[in-house]
Symmetry: C2
Amino acid sequence: MSKEVPVIRNVLEANDQLAEELRRELRVRKILCLNLISSPGAGKTTVLERTLTDLAGEFKMAVIEGDLQTDNDARRVAATGAQAVQVNTEGGCHLDSAQVFHALRALDLEGLDILFVENVGNLVCPAEFEVGEDYKVTLLSVTEGDDKPEKYPLIFHISAVMLLNKIDLLPYVDFDMDKASAHAARLNKDIEVFPISARSGENMEAWYGWLRHKRAEKL
Amino acid sequence: MSKEVPVIRNVLEANDQLAEELRRELRVRKILCLNLISSPGAGKTTVLERTLTDLAGEFKMAVIEGDLQTDNDARRVAATGAQAVQVNTEGGCHLDSAQVFHALRALDLEGLDILFVENVGNLVCPAEFEVGEDYKVTLLSVTEGDDKPEKYPLIFHISAVMLLNKIDLLPYVDFDMDKASAHAARLNKDIEVFPISARSGENMEAWYGWLRHKRAEKL
């Protein structure tokens, strides 16, 4: 009779097992972890800059920045006073749990309330790779078009929040907020939709309310 | 002495061999083939709609549309009168040569002048997969930010053209055209940059001039 041996079935399973370990560690420390996903240029870093600034007195926050190249984004968020660490994927199209595991070792987790993981700009591949997050938060900028939930369904299906960013540009583009929200709701009846402008600050309070609520649930 | 046997080293090599076959077939037929790449929502389909309409009397053109889901884009370009075929990648983050090979069988290639392949919206993964194209044409919309060539360098390094789209929105966003062009030029000294608005039609003639020139070179 052969002895049972552990089998790692594939790269996704190995990634998810490490993600589960990360999740356990963050749960013990009561840190809310959010995985921010969007197309390139939808405004993830700008949303973070404003959030880190506006909530600086309320929460201790840190950011893991994922990019193919450069440390531009880590420098941008570090300028708000938050801890930041940059992961360069060197061409890789998404962050994975191992990268986040190593990045966490470069952060001081003591007393941390919220950890943001800003994924590589890509609406497809990051959907497949957990990184230890409590929730996925997907940004869609109104300049990208209201058909995007329908055309990139998986990421909206598995995200807790859709931030509809750049609403300051609504007068200049053809974007139907109701259509985009209805598509997202068909993919995921529980998705929360917050129309915001990270540039002007409009309606950011709704997003902060969600953050406060989810952080409180970790305690 | 062992006989030499053919070895397919990896998935990328297999893809590139089929791309080379596609390229040979298209060369014999004198069809210019362009691989259109961008982030989701940068305007690939809108650029195609206007190009197909404006040049309808001049060239016989066809489009292979790549999307995770839906046939929205193939229907949009077919409405211009051009031939169109939709490839659904069902979650796949890029088109590959095999998909284009099959899609070509659904098109009437007789007398065709230009074949556009509109890739999945993704600035990362499509850079790695040839699909038989003569040239890669990468779109960057000005709403995405002027840092994108620096942050997604490979695709700009290997593209013949960068279409800077949505210049009608320049008054409402922070985008430095010179900075974006300079970054792209550092990655690729031969890249041609055309600032355009597919929505307003501004400066499309420069792009059409490039198309005419490259099509003439195939004859």
